[in-house]
Amino acid sequence: MEYKLKILTNTRQKSAALLHSLVDIRVIGKTEGFHKVLVDGRLYVTQLPLEVEIGEILIGSVVKKNPLVISLDSFFNYQTMNSPLLKKILLKLRIGIDRKSMDAVALIIKNNKALVKSKILLLIKALQTVEFNLTEGERSVLVKLIWYYDEATFTELFKLFRQSFDVSFNAIAGNIYRSWLHLRATVYNEGLLKALEKIIALNFDMQTGLEDLSPLKNKVDKFIDLYGMIEKIETDGLFKHTEYRNLKNNLMKYIFQKLIYQHASVYPEFTAVISNNKSSLFLFKYENMQDLSYNESYGINIRSENGGNLVGLLTGKSFYGELKNVFGNEELVKERVNNFNVNMLNTYGLSVNIKILDTTEEGSKNKIIKRNYETILAS
């Protein structure tokens, strides 16, 4: 969503602001849906496209001089985001300049959110408060929560965030996967093993040719039930085992992280693939890209525990992406990718274009990371 602030009237003075320059906008009054604002100290009347209180300060970028039009959340001329720009923004907002405040502003610009002083201060405080390192994706979730809710609501939700995000989603998925492997090896409880397996395992060895795809879907509902099942086993005194406590703890973190991620239109997920009687963990993530003006498009990142990694953008008609070749056998990879492309086109009418990245190629990992679907790689 791009916010443009169009100045309706002014006090007959011409704007002195240069095209593409940064301006500060101070909200000094509201009357009948209109806002009185000071743009770099000059008085204007306008309709702000977002909810702000009197006294709020925003930073915008001049996109048109006559009439004066200011963009509030699109800094396309500042794609080469650098320290001088970030310092200039903080200086205009009268916020202390240090690494954390600069990181916060950079994060907001990356997430295409308006530079609203009170929100920035809240983000800086939140980033300072969390006791653990956050991935880029988790930091984006924080931004989206702060910009969507008022300060009081966010402050309460932040309590849930702090309790749930001390472990990354991928680590939680890995822990649940390992619990499943452990249950399989020890068979403490056949019923629990089968229930967990049904929820997470994608079995390619089934002879029907039709896999049950539910292990690829959101597991919140089923994990709530599974959590209750473990509690019952414990209550009945059948088992009190560390493995159960760990599994319960990870199911709980999964549930709350998923519900919070959902708010940010980010959908991390995992599945345990069974193939040729072997198992492996696959992590994947969808990110709704409508915020970036791609209609019905999803950023997709699929990664196996063995290093295979496909990253790209999926629309209703096409997929453009990159496959990291950690496998070595270039001919085989090319053939399988080609088969995949043909299958997608013939079966689903989906045009697929996958570039194979040689991991020995200089900077190939960085290329993938810059796609902005990086949380899976970064964790």
Partner: protein, 66 residues
């Protein structure tokens, strides 16, 4: 299952998070709202399952192990 039923079950899970969060009305409202909006089907499923198959196939053929 209705959202309210799901949420009542979820409250038992919430109880086990420290900080008495189960009594927090803002958090309660947020969770109930999000529970009601879970999208159980995904338009990306067919793509994901085939992509996983492809990667898994390549890995098994190259005998790649961690």
């Amino acid at each position: 299952m209705k959202t309210k039923q799901k949420y009542n079950r979820l409250k038992k899970v919430l109880k086990n998070l420290s900080g008495n969060l189960e009594e927090n009305t803002v958090i309660n409202r947020f969770l109930e709202d999000k529970l009601g909006k879970i999208n159980e089907t995904s338009p990306q499923l067919y793509f994901t399952v085939n992509a996983i198959k492809m990667i898994n196939d390549i890995e098994s053929k190259t005998n790649r192990v961690v």
